[in-house]
Symmetry: C2
Subunit: 120 residues, 2 copies
């Protein structure tokens, strides 16, 4: 079975991660059979490597990483592929793939439009 | 009429702003009677002050700022209120309000969950 890692930027302020914790809660309620972990690029724990380790220890070998970023800038176009490649070398037994950034998804953008329209 | 500013963090890489440009396009197609502008906290132009100026020059006096951030960390909890207060002083004729970050919205989070489920 495929398992999920929500991958975010991270921030100094611990309150920043609240929506990420909510994503995990929503996922666990709706898809209890696919494990989910959080991972952060910087400033917050766990790292991507630590999150994959958690899944590997639980016996999982298929992992899909979802970058919870709006834009695909240097972090996702340059840093993230290197990080993914590094993790593939460290975990050769794991099938590791990644989706585009969630900000690339039309339905996510439409939800932001709807939210904004309700505010007007 | 109320008008909208999508307010993002900004990044060095110009490709990062693509989802923000798409938000503006989607908004203009769906809500052509409410003006929309982009603004960025840092690293990209225009600033919030510049975006408000554009709306003021167009004769608009009601502006709602939508922070296109997932998490409400230091930027939104500390920097943003100061920036907003500064803009209120500079534009006393403008009614300036702000929504919570889009990552606080359950429908936005659900769209991310749906996107992730389709990837599995």
């Amino acid at each position: 079975m495929k398992n999920l890692i929500f991958f975010g930027h991270g921030a100094r302020d611990s309150r920043w991660r609240e929506p990420f914790d909510r994503l995990v809660s929503l996922w666990r309620v709706q898809y209890p059979h696919a494990r989910v972990e959080l991972a952060f690029l910087e400033l917050m724990q766990p790292s991507l490597e630590e999150a994959i380790t958690t899944l590997v220890v639980a016996g999982e070998v298929e992992v899909v990483v979802v970058p919870v970023f709006f834009g695909q800038g240097g972090h996702l176009l340059d840093d993230f592929p290197l990080l993914l490649s590094d993790c593939r070398q460290k975990f050769p037994q794991v099938s590791l793939s990644a989706t585009p950034a969630v900000g690339e998804d039309e339905a996510v953008l439409q939800a932001i439009i709807d939210f904004s329209a309700r505010a007007l």
